[in-house]
């Protein structure tokens, strides 16, 4: 591979870069979804793909989410690698039957005769002042389903590397894009086709006093909190879970073994969230290392408020700092 100059890219541009790269590399990769072809996607994640790869490989589907998922299952069963876009996570529920009953089970129920190497991409999360049904974080619904991988990137470079892996993975991947940070900042992304590993957490910042576990858009608040606490001499280890299923507990456990304290942050509703799973595994495997109860800082168990009150739902840096301070003060 010749070395390419690094490009400054936003997260959504990194999605586009990875899609284009993989479509060039592998002609079995196809893109489908609502408004993905001519319009380039409502967030422009698929911009330019139709022009480069044509309508046979970049398909504007009818407005039917169950169909999009079902068609992707059918394509994948025949060896294509469909990357289907669900326009917003709030509209993914019609596709659930195909995700759960077919995509997640095809390899298992045919004992490996058929498989389902598809990616279902969906922008998710709040904080962009969107209308009703456009701000949900329901990643736990997918993380509960055996047979799926659930991946949430949190930076342009990780988006590029993880999306490449997701497309190359031989099994279905739910790829949830935190749309609040789609254009938050630009980062150097080298379009060299180098994938990042799935099924592992990324330790973004090493620390010795406390482990801060999060994913998606909240990674940014977590890093800000860690920065501010560093000024007070508190050393926070920040872990970006990145792949919610299967969950890399090893990385989290090693960190907690070192720090003895853990705070989990997620935008999704608190009860039965992915944070509960992490906390449960810490209770099972890290009890003797823990010097304080594991704390969850999470969304309320309410429907995502309309945007006028969205700020009351969203988790702010101060809350994370407070949660860390409380956990450090314990015992």
């Amino acid at each position: 591979m010749t070395s390419l100059p690094p490009l400054k890219k936003t997260l959504v541009e990194a999605v586009n870069l990875a899609l284009a790269h993989e479509m060039r590399r592998d002609e079995s990769v196809v893109v489908l979804g609502e408004d993905v072809a001519t319009n380039g996607g409502v967030f422009r994640a698929t911009e330019g793909l139709k022009d480069e790869f044509g309508i046979r490989r970049v398909m504007d589907t009818p407005l039917a989410e169950a169909l999009i998922a079902g068609v992707a299952v059918g394509m994948a069963s025949q060896g294509l690698k469909p990357v289907a876009e669900i326009q917003f996570m709030g509209f993914i529920f019609a596709a659930m039957e195909h995700i759960i009953c077919h995509a997640a089970r095809m390899r298992n129920r045919t004992r490996g005769r058929l498989s389902c190497p598809m990616v279902l991409r969906a922008p998710y999360g709040g904080g962009i002042h969107a209308p009703e049904h456009h701000s949900e974080s329901t990643e736990a619904l997918f993380a509960h389903i055996p047979g799926l991988r659930v991946v949430v990137p949190s930076s342009p470079a990780r988006t590029y590397g993880l999306l490449l892996s997701a497309i190359r993975d031989p099994d279905p991947v739910i790829f949830l894009e935190p749309k609040r940070i789609y254009r938050l900042n630009k980062q150097e992304v080298i379009d060299n086709g180098e994938a990042l590993p799935l099924d592992v957490c990324f330790t973004l910042r090493e620390g010795k006093d406390i482990t801060l576990v999060t994913w998606g858009a909240m990674v940014h608040e977590a890093l800000q909190a860690a920065d501010q606490l560093a000024q007070q001499g508190i050393s926070v280890e920040v872990i970006d879970v990145a792949t919610l299923k299967p969950l890399d507990m090893e990385t989290i456990l090693h960190s907690v073994e070192k720090t003895g304290r853990c705070v989990i942050v997620h935008e999704a509703a608190r009860s039965n969230g992915v944070g509960a799973e992490i906390a449960a595994q810490l209770a099972e495997k890290a009890l003797l290392w823990l010097q304080a109860p594991v704390k969850r800082i999470a969304g309320y168990d309410i429907p995502m408020p309309y945007f006028k009150y969205e700020q009351y739902y969203m988790i702010h840096v101060d809350e994370i700092i407070q949660g860390i301070e409380e956990t450090l003060a314990y015992g």
Partner: protein, 378 residues
């Protein structure tokens, strides 16, 4: 159709349609249409007949296996044989089949072994390995109508790769009430997909009759709004089913678009072995169903044309019974897979996070099996 509605001068007729109905051999075994000698030859007609006889005997055996505790819940295909054999003979091996769950005849003709079919209904995933059948055929689809959207995806794959085959999918009459059905035929219409949808309208979705399933006069006409042709066929007439499907597949393979075929049959059995149709199905309707059933009529036709006689019938039944016995033996004698099989095909490679659960399962299974052996030895 009215040219104007409520005297609205701006209304216009945008569609007028007839629904074709094909029947070639009626329930009395009489030819009721011109039979193309290239199609309706002795070989094909006897093949269709023999396969229907075979699958009915197999079906009876499968129900008996369930009743005697040797297999799980099973959906009988009694009375549906003509649809299955019509599909089986009309499809090419390189076409792709996306079945629902009452397609035993078609599966058999696609090359699925009896043992595999029994394994599937016997609760063993290896039944969906379907050794001997085309590699890319989908397994049985239990969630209603989902297979139709998968078929649309398969048809897209065919089109994207410029291949010359087609996909055929099946469903029951109840499935045509589901969004998946409408969403898939809508796509097939827009993209002119190489796809044939065969609706086995057997008049019952468990206990809900055709009359209260949809207000549409025919199921075939649901295709019209999707921009594709829909037609009906006598689903008890194997030759007619074969002919219309053959034609539709040929059209699909030639890139000339999809077809919806409503095959009108009658479900002579229960929905599954877990159902009791006497709770909701009037006996007179069942009797009427038996008058129209598919096997007797073709037997009569073959007899009358000297294609088939009692001696061949006896020999064939003996042959069928031997094959079925062999299939059942193969099923019953299939060694158990190792318990960890339930983990080993979930992902291409088992994620590290699941290894602990897998080890737990192995230990648990060992303990369960040891206890079982101990109980047996007492």
């Amino acid at each position: 159709m009215q040219a104007t509605i409520n005297n609205n001068p701006f209304s216009k007729t945008v569609a007028q349609f007839n629904i074709a109905y094909t029947q070639m051999i009626n329930h009395l075994g009489e030819a009721v249409a011109h039979l193309d000698p290239d199609i309706a030859n002795e070989k094909l007609l006897t093949d269709l007949y023999k396969s229907m006889v075979f699958i009915r005997l197999f079906d009876k055996k499968a129900v008996a296996l369930q009743r005697t505790g040797k297999m799980g819940t099973y959906p009988s295909s009694l009375g549906q044989e003509a649809v299955g054999v019509g599909i089986g003979y009309a499809m090419n091996p390189n076409d792709v089949f996306a079945p629902y769950y009452r397609d035993h005849a078609a599966l058999y003709l696609r090359g699925v072994s009896l043992a595999d079919m029994l394994l599937y209904w016997g609760g063993d995933e290896r039944g969906s390995l379907i050794n001997g059948a085309p590699q890319f055929d989908l397994p049985n689809c239990v969630p209603i109508a989902n297979q139709i959207t998968h078929a649309a995806g398969i048809a897209c794959a065919i089109k994207i790769r410029h291949e010359k085959n087609a996909v055929l999918t099946t469903c029951g009459d109840g499935a045509t009430s589901r969004g998946d059905f409408y969403e898939a035929i809508n796509l097939a219409g827009i993209w002119q997909l190489p796809m044939v949808v065969v609706v086995n309208n057997n008049q019952w979705a468990i206990s809900v009759s055709r009359g209260i399933q949809t207000a549409a006069e025919t199921i075939a006409q649901k295709a019209i709004a999707a921009g594709m042709p829909g037609e009906q066929v006598d689903g008890n007439d194997a030759l007619a089913v074969y002919s219309v499907i053959k034609k539709a597949l040929k059209k699909a393979r030639a890139g000339k678009g999809p077809t919806l075929i409503e095959a009108i049959t009658y479900r002579l059995g229960d929905h599954t072995t877990a159902d009791d149709a006497t709770r909701y199905r009037p006996p007179e309707a069942l009797n009427k169903g038996w008058e129209l059933e598919p096997i007797k009529r073709l037997q009569t036709f073959l007899h009358n044309n000297n294609f088939w006689g009692p001696e061949q019938e006896r020999a064939w039944i003996t042959q069928c019974e031997q094959n079925i016995t062999q299939g059942v033996e193969a099923y019953l004698n299939t060694p158990d897979a190792p318990p960890e099989d339930i983990f080993d095909y979930l992902y291409a490679e088992l994620p590290f996070a699941m290894e602990e659960q897998r080890q737990h399962l192995i230990a648990k299974a060992r303990s369960l099996n040891a206890n079982k052996k101990e109980e047996e030895s007492l």
